[in-house]
C-alpha cells in the first residue's frame, strides 16, 4: 500500500493538515484503514542486522512495529536505537518509552533525538516494575508517569518547549500513543483513565491482550458513552498463546495479562495446541474488528513472531492490501544482507 506522495525511504511524509506527524501509521488510521501493528522483539545484540532480520519477517503484513523499551524490565537494545535503525530503511516504528528507567531530562532528550532520526510514533508507558525482570536490584526511576509523559511530549510538540518552558528550535512531530488495560481492577476506573490519557495527549491506544471479549465490550461501551471513541484510535492487543502451559505462565508472570479459563481449557483440549492458539488469535482478531471503535489490532507474539504473517493473512483483516515495506537492495541506507 503506497501513498501518492510516498517519500524516499527513511524520509517522513509531508504532514497533512490536521495531522501531527509525517508518519505512515497516522495516515493509515486517519484514512479509516484497519491497521495492523506488531511488537518487534529487540535483540540482545549490538548488531544492526539482528534488528533488520527481526523486522523483515513482518514484511508486507503490518503497518507499523513497536520497539519495546526494556519490556518486562529486561535489558535489550534500546527502543531509540532500534527505531533509528528501522527508520533508516523506511519502516514505521512505534517507539515505546517506559517511565521506569529514565527521568524527565533523559526522556525529553530521547524524544528530540528520536524525532530527529525520523521516528513519528511514540507510545507512552509506565513500564513494568523492576521486580518483573531479570535485574530486580536495579533502581526504579518513575520520575514521570504515563500521563505526565504524554502531556510533556504533547507540550513539546504543540508549544515547542520543554517541561521547564525552555524553547525548542524545532518541535518533535510525533503521533502520540498510550496503552490501556481494560481487564484489571479498578475496572470502572479504566474508561476514565482512558479519558485522562486522551486529555493528556493520547491519539492512539494499544491495549493489553484482549482474550476476554465480554469485558472488552463493556469497556468499549463505557468509552463510547464518555464520547471517547471519536477522539482516539484504538488498536486491540492480541497474540497467539503457544500452549495451555504458556498461557498459564503468561497470566501468572507477565504483569496485567488476563486469560480466561475457557481459553486455557480450549487449548488443553486441542491435539496441536500451537495451531489451536493461532486459531484462537485469528478468531479474536475477526471478532475484535466487528466491535465499534476498534481501528486496528496490535499483535504481540513473543518468541512466535514468525507466525504473525500467517495469522494476519488468514484473518483477512488486510482486505487484500499489502502494507508497505522497504524495497531491499535499492536502498542506500540499508547495509544488511538478505538472509532467511
Amino acid at each position: 500500500m503506497k501513498f501518492e506522495d510516498e517519500p524516499v525511504p527513511g524520509q517522513p511524509f509531508p504532514i497533512r493538515p490536521g495531522h501531527s506527524s509525517g508518519g505512515r501509521l497516522e495516515r493509515i488510521l486517519r484514512e479509516g484503514v484497519f491497521a495492523v501493528t506488531a511488537e518487534l522483539d529487540p535483540p540482545d545484540s549490538a548488531d544492526a542486522e539482528d534488528v533488520y532480520r527481526r523486522a523483515r519477517i513482518f514484511d508486507g503484513f503490518i503497518d507499523a512495529m513497536n520497539a519495546t523499551d526494556g519490556a518486562g524490565a529486561n535489558c535489550h537494545m534500546s527502543s531509540v536505537a532500534v527505531c533509528a535503525l528501522l527508520r533508516r530503511v523506511g519502516y514505521a516504528p512505534v517507539m515505546q518509552v517506559a517511565c521506569r528507567d529514565k527521568n524527565r531530562i533523559a526522556i525529553q532528550g530521547d524524544v528530540l533525538g528520536a524525532a530527529a532520526m525520523g521516528v513519528c510514533n511514540i507510545l507512552c508507558l509506565t513500564g513494568d516494575g523492576v521486580q518483573a525482570g531479570d535485574d530486580p536490584g536495579a533502581k526504579p526511576v518513575f520520575d514521570l508517569d504515563s500521563l505526565s509523559l504524554l502531556e510533556t511530549i504533547r507540550t513539546m510538540r504543540e508549544e515547542s518547549r520543554l517541561l521547564t518552558g525552555r524553547k525548542l528550535d524545532s518541535p518533535p512531530r510525533v503521533f502520540l500513543g498510550a496503552a490501556t488495560n481494560p481487564f484489571t481492577e479498578p475496572l470502572e476506573f479504566q474508561p476514565i483513565r482512558l479519558a485522562k490519557k486522551i486529555a493528556a495527549g493520547a491519539q492512539f491506544i494499544q491495549t493489553q491482550y484482549c482474550f476476554d471479549l465480554d469485558k472488552f465490550r463493556i469497556f468499549m461501551t463505557r468509552a463510547r458513552d464518555l464520547g471517547l471513541l471519536e477522539q482516539v484510535f484504538i488498536l486491540a492487543g492480541v497474540g497467539p498463546p503457544a500452549s495451555a502451559r504458556a498461557a498459564r505462565w503468561m497470566r501468572s508472570h507477565i504483569p496485567g495479562v488476563t486469560i480466561p479459563d475457557s481459553i486455557i481449557h480450549r487449548l488443553e483440549g486441542a491435539g496441536d495446541q500451537q495451531a489451536e492458539g493461532r486459531k484462537i488469535c485469528i478468531e479474536l482478531i475477526q471478532q475484535l474488528r466487528e466491535i465499534e471503535g476498534v481501528s486496528g489490532v496490535h499483535i504481540m507474539a513473543y518468541r512466535q513472531e514468525k507466525s504473525i504473517a500467517a495469522i494476519v493473512r488468514d484473518s483477512g483483516v488486510l482486505d487484500g492490501r499489502t502494507p508497505w515495506y522497504p524495497e531491499r537492495g535499492r536502498n542506500p541506507g540499508y547495509l544488511g544482507q538478505e538472509t532467511d
Partner: protein
Amino acid sequence: MLRLRLWSVRHARLLEAIYEAFERFLIKLGPLLERIGHERLEKPVAALERISKGLFFDCQMCGECILSSTGMSCPMNCPKTLRNGPCGGVRPGGFCEVKPEMRCVWVEAWEGSRLMRKPEAIRALQKPVDARLKGRSSWLRVIREKTRDNPP
C-alpha cells in the same frame, strides 16, 4: 500503619470534610504564620505533618499533597509513585503488581474517591512532582499558594 491507612480510605468522606475545614483554618492562620516566618516554621510544621499524616495515610512527605484527588489514598505508597491512576499490572483481586501482598493504592483511591463529596477530583491531570519538595511541609506550601499574591 496499613490498617489505619485502609480505615482512612473507608472514611474518605469524613476526612475530606475535616481536611477542607483544616485548610480553611490554615489559611486563616496564614498572616500569623507569615509573621513568624515560614522558614523558621518549616521544620516543626513538617515534623507535625509527617507524624499526623504518616499515621492516617502512610504519608511519604512528597511535599505536594493531592490526597483529596486520590480518595485519601496516598499515591506515593504506589511502588511506581504513580499520581494519575493505576498501572496496567494490577493483579486479580486488586493487588499490587510490585508488592503482591498490598492492595493497589489506586484500587483504594478509586473506592475512596467514590465516597467523597467531590468524586470527580480523581479525574484531574496531575503534574510531575517537584523532587525538591520532598520532606517539606505541604501545609505551609498551601498557605503560601493561597495567601501570597506572588507565590514563589
